[in-house]
Every structure is written in structure tokens, then in C-alpha cells.
């Protein structure tokens, strides 16, 4: 039986038709994947189901009965809950308080203790551990995602929509979540799983509905399809495939050291040590990958290097110059490009148009600036050139950045950051939440920068990405570099072990990794 059924749903935003006559049905007890590229209209369709958006046309039926949702309240009452792509959490409140929002409760008094207990239990049961008393702003993005999922479980929704939930998880965590989702479906829940990752969809779904340009392409049984067919259905053309194993910079020692980090320690937002004596070197023409589970100091490392966070001790040298106490502007001037984790908050200004976002780092320079004034014509040219060079799909350079899809926002950010021929690129999760096509483009851009002679510090939770792009991979665990290994021929099992802190005593205390069959330990300096 169909748990939910959307019939002929159309949803417009101004002139954009996000959903065009879409029909979709998911059954009780199945994991139903909604597959589509960035901007295909997946989130919009499910926001209609969750009562957040009102459709311009079409109907929603729950368990066979037509419903008219006027707000998420009505959808929640029908047992429909959604883990949104952009977190719906109140930063200043605790995890438990977030879970209690809008929940019909008894009495006026706030009783957090029972909720905290229940959340802790749920977290344990589903492997989604997070401190129910922590405030949201203290949590990493991955942990915040867990809160979203926990809240849904806590509310006991019957139809659970997950909007790209694995985008913020490590491969291991993602695998764990997929198991959880399967269990939940087996328990008789209806799970709707939005994604643009083919492998993941094939791993989790019973049936798959493909959306393209706001229209339903088809619904297929997982057993009756394959990766190749899905890719063709989703993109509408044949796909080139993941970046092939690139020639790794052979003589890593040859390039000049563009980034040197020595004994670096820093505090996180909670005031606890986030980085402890980190030692790193990245040479010109080299990509150093940083692997690790979310919340082990990656964000802090990027922030300290780019001047957004104070180091408590240690030293950062960029191109030989000590930049430990420099302002972000001085660090930009030293030739550092930063692709931050939070692309909408730290990377772009969503409410400004594309050209303004593009000149943020260059507006003081000739010919964009003429004395105190901006040179409109030059800026227009500059923006148009970058937009076409970096293939940003946008109506015009005067469009607001927030209206772009995630993949195009990321390309916009890369266009700005890479245009100044940086000597060091700090890229944090550059392809998170970005579809296959754009991921491919971003990978090529980073590799081109390496060939040009830039040093790249690539922070990612996607081990495949790190292995494909990096020359060397360092693993960060609880703010310490556990080990650094050459990417070529690296043992994924060993990396996973380091990411879990498993080989800590071996690597950190004796400067030697566990015997993992042929891994050479390069940086035994510490």
C-alpha cells in the first residue's frame, strides 16, 4: 500500500518551475530513493510533502486519503517528517530542546531530562551518539545531522524523508546509516531517501524514482536496474566517470614548501583543545589530503591557516612567511585561497549578486577599482569571463548567489578563489552535496591548480576523493595528526583505523604505524 502519493504536483518559484507535473508514490516498508542532479527539484518535491511548500497544482494522499497541508504541522500530524538538507536547528538551544520544538507536550513546564534520556537511548540504538545537552553551535556539521535524524526518530514519524543525509557523514557513518534506514523500513516505516549518488542509492533503495529538470523520468526497481542506466536516466547523457587515477607528483620533495605548520595548537568553539601539536608540510605542486571523521579538528585547522581562528601555540608559514598572527586579509594577500566548509556562510554572500561575490577578493585592485570607485564595465567583464571559464550555470551575473543550486554555488566560489593564481589552496569538503557533474569539474579544477604549481590542502571525509586526488594523506584524529602516508597504494583499512583513533599508540608514541603491509611512514618527525 502507498504510504504517500503525490499526483501531478507542480511548484513554481517566480519564473522557475521547480516541479512540473510530478507524480511520486512510496510504500510502507520500503526505502524509496529520489534521484536527481542538483536543481532537479528533489528538495522542493519533498518540501511539498512535508507541508513546508504549498503546491501550485496537484494532490497529496497519505494512506490513500487526500490531504491538504497548510503547514508542516499538518504533515507532522499525518506522521510525515523530514531531515532537511539545510539544517533546521536552533543554534543556541540544546539538542534536547531542539527535539522538543513543536512537540505536543504535557503542561507548561519545560522538562528536558526525560527527553535527554530518550534521545540518548535512541542515539545509542541507532549509532547516532550525540550529547543531548550540547548546544547546536558546539557541534560539527556531522553531529548536527545526527540531531536532525534523532529528532525525527524521537517524534516517531511514520514516513521519514532524508534529504541527502550522507552528504555530511564519513563513509563508515554513511554505511551505518544505510543499515539503520534498512532496519527502519523493515520495521514498517516508509523511508524516502534523496540523493544524487548512484552507489548509495543502489545500496539502500528498494525502488528508485528519477527526477530530471523538475519532471519525473521514471520509477524503477533496484533489482531491475544498474549504475549505468541510472546515470543515464539522471543526467540524460552518458557520464564520463570518476576522475581517473592522476599522475601523482613523483618528486614531492622537489617543490618549494608553500605551507608549513609546526606544533600548531588551537581551541575549538567549546574552548577545548581542537588541535594539538599539528605538523604539516605542503609543497608546491602537491595535494595533501586530510582525512578524518567530522569534528576532529579539520575545520579548526583550516580556520587557523586562513586567519579566521587564533592559534594558541605553534606556527603557520605560508611561502616562508610567518602568518600565524596575520589577519585574513594579509593571508589572502600572501596568496591563499580558501574554500570553506560552510559555503553559504563563510564562502559566499547569498544575498549579493554573482559579480559582487566574484570581486570580493579583488575589488581593491586595478582595473576593478578606480580610486574610490568601482569600475562597472571592468567588473562586468571580469565576472562574465570567470562565469564562463568556470562553467557556472546562472541566468546572469546580476542574479543573486542564493538562487544558484549547490553545485553552481561551489563553482562560483572556486571561480573567485582560484582566479588570483593562489600559492596555497585550502579546500574543505569542496564537493560535499554537489552532484556528479559538478564534482567532476571541481576535481579537474583542483588538479589543474596542482599542475600549475599551487600547494593544495584538501580536507575531505570522502576517502575515495582523497585517494583519487591527493599525493599524500594525513589523518586527523582528536586534533592530532595520526600519520601521513603516500596516497598511491594506501591501505584504506589502515586509514580507517587511524580515523577511528585505533592505531594511536602505534603511530603517535613510537612514530611507527601498525604493520599494514607496505605502507611507508613518511612523516615520522613527531
Amino acid at each position: 500500500m502507498n504510504a504517500v502519493e503525490l499526483t501531478s504536483v507542480t511548484k513554481r518559484f517566480g519564473s522557475v518551475v521547480a516541479n512540473d507535473n510530478v507524480t511520486f508514490a512510496a510504500q510502507v516498508g520500503e526505502v524509496h530513493a529520489l534521484l536527481g542532479e542538483n536543481g532537479a527539484g528533489k528538495s522542493t518535491l519533498m518540501s511539498v510533502l512535508a507541508g513546508l511548500y504549498r503546491p501550485d497544482a496537484g494532490t497529496i494522499a497519505v494512506n490513500g486519503a487526500v490531504q491538504h497541508f497548510r503547514s508542516p504541522r499538518d504533515a507532522i500530524a499525518q506522521g510525515i517528517g523530514m531531515v532537511y538538507q539545510h539544517f533546521m536547528l536552533v543554534d543556541s538551544l540544546t539538542v534536547a530542546e531542539n527535539a522538543m520544538l513543536g512537540q505536543a507536550g504535557h503542561g507548561v513546564r519545560l522538562h528536558t531530562a526525560p527527553v535527554e534520556r530518550e534521545l540518548a537511548e535512541l542515539g545509542q540504538r541507532y549509532g547516532l551518539a550525540v550529547d543531548p545537552r550540547a548546544r547546536i553551535w558546539q557541534l560539527s556539521v556531522g553531529e548536527q545531522q545526527r540531531v536532525e535524524i534523532l529528532r525525527l526518530l524521537y517524534r516517531g514519524a511514520k514516513v521519514l524523508v532524508f534529504d541527502e543525509p550522507t552528504a555530511v557523514l564519513t563513509p563508515q557513518e554513511a554505511a551505518g546509516l544505510i543499515g539503520t534506514l534498512r532496519d527502519m523500513a523493515a520495521d514498517g516505516l516508509c523511508i524516502i531517501f534523496i540523493s544524487h549518488k548512484l552507489d548509495e542509492v543502489l545500496a539502500v533503495a528498494d525502488r528508485i524514482t528519477v527526477l530530471r529538470h523538475g519532471r519525473t523520468v521514471t520509477t524503477v526497481e533496484r533489482r531491475a536496474t544498474n549504475r549505468h542506466e541510472l546515470a543515464r536516466l539522471m543526467v540524460g547523457r552518458e557520464l564520463m566517470g570518476v576522475v581517473a587515477d592522476q599522475p601523482q607528483a613523483v618528486a614531492g620533495d622537489a617543490g618549494v614548501v608553500n605551507l608549513e605548520v609546526r606544533g600548531l595548537s588551537a581551541e575549538g568553539d567549546k574552548g577545548v583543545r581542537a588541535l594539538q601539536g599539528v605538523e604539516l608540510q605542503v609543497r608546491s605542486g602537491e595535494i595533501l589530503g586530510i582525512a578524518g571523521v567530522a569534528g576532529n579538528g579539520q575545520r579548526e585547522l583550516a580556520e587557523v591557516i586562513t586567519g579566521l581562528r587564533r592559534a594558541t601555540s605553534g606556527e603557520v608559514r605560508i611561502g616562508g612567511q610567518d602568518t600565524t598572527r596575520c589577519s585574513p586579509r594579509e593571508i589572502v594577500a600572501a596568496g591563499v585561497a580558501h574554500i570553506p566548509e560552510d559555503r553559504n556562510g563563510t564562502g559566499l554572500i547569498p544575498s549579493l549578486d554573482l559579480q559582487d561575490n566574484l570581486i570580493l577578493k579583488h575589488y581593491r585592485q586595478q582595473p576593478l577599482a578606480r580610486g574610490l570607485f568601482l569600475n562597472g564595465a571592468a567588473i562586468g567583464n571580469f565576472a562574465d569571463r570567470l562565469l564562463s571559464k568556470y562553467n557556472v550555470a546562472a541566468p546572469s551575473r546580476a542574479a543573486k548567489a542564493r538562487l544558484l543550486s549547490g553545485g553552481n554555488q561551489q563553482k562560483l566560489l572556486l571561480a573567485r578563489e582560484l582566479s588570483g593564481q593562489p600559492r596555497l589552496i585550502v579546500a574543505v569538503h569542496p564537493t560535499r552535496g554537489v552532484d556528479v557533474g559538478a564534482t567532476e569539474a571541481i576535481h579537474h579544477l583542483l588538479l589543474a591548480q596542482r599542475s600549475r604549481g599551487a600547494a593544495v590542502l584538501l580536507i575531505s571525509e570522502d576517502l575515495d576523493e582523497l585517494l583519487a586526488l591527493s599525493d599524500r594523506i594525513a589523518v586527523l584524529y582528536e586534533g592530532k595528526v595520526m600519520d601521513t602516508v603516500p596516497a598511491r597504494g594506501a591501505d584504506v583499512g589502515y586509514l580507517g583505523l587511524l580515523m577511528a583513533g585505533g592505531a594511536q599508540s602505534g603511530a603517535a608514541d613510537h612514530g611507527r604505524p601498525m604493520d599494514t603491509g607496505g605502507i611507508i611512514n613518511q612523516d615520522v618527525a613527531h
Binding site: F13, A50, L52, Y53, S71, P72, R73, A75, I76, A77, M82, Y84, M88, L89, V90, D91, S92, L93, E97, N98, M100, L101, G102, Q103, G105, G107, V108, R109, L110, P350, R402, L403
Partner: protein, 308 residues
């Protein structure tokens, strides 16, 4: 003795500011900035005095003040919550409107004696406590009401379920909406409640601390209340501390003028405002250091399908 009487006067003078500040805290906690406090206080002051003048009952006056402030803030709610008007502009318009309207309507009442007011009402027993008694417990009924309101609001904001919703809606209306609560309803409620308290603050002047009506009799206390919200870090208890500090400066200034010091009265009149600036500078530094920020969505309109 002098110290005690100045402190007692400080509390009396601080009551009006305290009501207004508590009201603005509720409003800003919900994410709406209302710069119309001065206008709402004035209309409360006038409505309170006029009603008392007509009926002889200050309690009816207080009710009228609540209604007048609430009505004016309802305009603000309508403009900013439903019609997407700019909150700063709407608030300023409210202050100008309230000032002009009360000056016009209140003309016949200027200088008339108050037939009744909230007089000092020593609480038996408590008033006899040395030092504290005369300071705290020889006040008027409205001041006692404000004593009760401070812990009540604190409890409401931090310890109740509706208070949780209030804190959430000012931080992330999108979350509140997605969780099935009505952002608009919450915001209407607290904007109007805030306006009612500002109106009552006006009545605390025209019916208690300076019974009577004169044009623009709030003399900037509405603005001081708005500034105090920041000093209070959106917390009712700290608002009380701030309000009495200001009441103290005001009381001191009157004493000094009364004692005939050689300091220019213009300078003395300026003191509360000067003090406001100093307190704001210090408070802002403190909030930055302790990471207590304004409600994240303060001043931002919320429409569900608008991308932020």
C-alpha cells in the same frame, strides 16, 4: 538616610523603564525589533491618565494603558509580520505617530491635577525591615507588579515550553516553522504583549511617579529601555538591574537639582543619556566576550518560501 531615599526614588523612577524594557525583550526574543517603545509609552501614559481622570480609578487607567500600547504595537505587528515592512522604519514611524497623536489628543489634559494615582503603599511588616524596607517596600502598586513580573518572565523564557518556542522563533524561524509551530502567531503574540508592557510603563509615569500629563512626558525613556535590552542581554533579571541603575541616575539628578548645586541643570538632564551610551559600550563588549548575541533572526522578516 539620604542614600536610602535616593535608592527608593531610583526604584520608583526605574519602574517605567523596567516595564518597557521587559516588553521590548519579549518582542526582540521573538525576532521583531520595535523602535516604537517611546510612542507606545506615551500613548499608554496618556490613555492611563485620561481614563483615570474620567473614572477616578487608576486601575482602569492601567488597563487602558495596556490596551493603548497593545493597539499601537498591533500596527507594528501587522506592518512587519504580515506586510513585510521594514522593522526599523515601522518602529520609528510608531514613535513619531505616538508622540504626535498624544500631543494632539492630550492638549486639554495638560496640567490638570490627577484625581487619583498609585500612591505609595507600604507593605505591612516588610516595610519595617531596616534599609531594605524603605527602599523596596514603600513603593506603589505598579512597582510591586514589576517585582513580580521579573521572575515570572525569567521563568517563562527559560523554564517553560512556550518560552522555548519564544527563544527559538527569534533564533531560527525556519526551524520553528518546519517543526509545525506558527511563526506568525508567536510573533504577533509577543509583539502585542511587548507593546502592552510599554504602555503600562507609560502609565507608571503618568499615574505613579509623576501623576499628570504633559506633552512628551516620557522624555526618551523608551529609547533608554531599548538600549537597556542589550545591556540586559535579553534577560529579564538583568533588565531589572539596568532599569534601577537608570532610575538611580535620574533620581540623583533630581536631588542634585533640588539641592541647588552649581552644576548646570542642562548637564544634569543629560546624565541619563550619557550613562546610556557608556553602559551600551560596556555591555556590548561584555556580550561579545561571553558570546551572548542578539537573537539571530532579530530584524529579519520570515517568509516560508523565500530563500535566505
Amino acid at each position: 538616610m539620604l542614600v536610602i531615599s535616593v535608592l527608593a526614588a531610583a526604584i520608583g523612577a526605574g519602574t517605567a523603564i523596567l516595564f518597557a524594557c521587559l516588553g521590548e525583550i519579549l518582542c526582540e526574543r521573538a525576532g521583531i525589533l520595535n523602535l516604537g517603545v517611546e510612542g507606545m509609552m506615551l500613548s499608554g501614559a496618556l490613555a492611563g491618565f485620561a481614563t483615570t481622570y474620567g473614572t477616578g480609578n487608576p486601575w482602569l487607567g492601567a488597563l487602558a494603558a495596556l490596551a493603548a500600547g497593545g493597539l499601537l504595537s498591533l500596527i507594528h505587528a501587522l506592518l512587519t509580520i504580515s506586510l513585510n515592512a521594514n522593522q526599523v522604519v515601522s518602529g520609528l514611524a510608531l514613535t513619531l505617530f505616538g508622540g504626535g497623536l498624544t500631543a494632539f489628543l492630550g492638549q486639554p489634559l495638560v496640567g490638570l491635577p490627577a484625581p487619583a494615582s498609585f500612591g505609595k503603599l507600604p507593605i505591612p511588616g516588610l516595610a519595617a525591615i531596616p534599609v531594605l524596607g524603605p527602599i523596596l517596600f514603600r513603593q506603589d502598586a505598579l512597582t510591586y507588579l514589576s517585582y513580580a513580573l521579573v521572575p515570572l518572565l525569567w521563568y517563562w523564557i527559560y523554564r517553560t515550553r512556550p518560552g522555548l518556542y519564544l527563544r527559538a522563533v527569534g533564533e531560527s524561524p525556519a526551524t520553528v516553522d518546519a517543526m509545525g509551530l506558527s511563526v506568525q502567531r508567536l510573533r504577533y503574540i509577543y509583539v502585542v504583549l511587548g507593546g502592552m508592557l510599554a504602555g503600562l510603563g507609560g502609565a507608571a509615569i503618568s499615574l505613579a511617579s509623576n501623576p499628570g500629563w504633559t506633552e512628551n512626558m516620557t522624555a526618551g525613556r523608551g529609547w533608554i529601555a531599548i538600549a537597556l535590552v542589550i545591556f540586559a542581554t535579553w534577560n529579564p533579571t538583568r533588565a531589572a538591574v539596568g532599569a534601577y541603575l537608570f532610575g538611580g541616575v535620574e533620581a540623583l539628578q533630581f536631588r542634585l537639582q533640588g539641592a541647588g548645586t552649581s552644576i548646570s541643570p542642562f548637564f544634569l538632564n543629560m546624565l541619563p543619556y550619557l550613562f546610556t551610551i557608556i553602559v551600551l559600550v560596556l555591555a556590548t563588549r561584555e556580550t561579545v566576550r561571553r558570546r551572548i548575541a542578539a537573537p539571530a533572526a532579530l530584524g529579519l522578516p520570515y517568509f516560508r518560501e523565500e530563500r535566505s
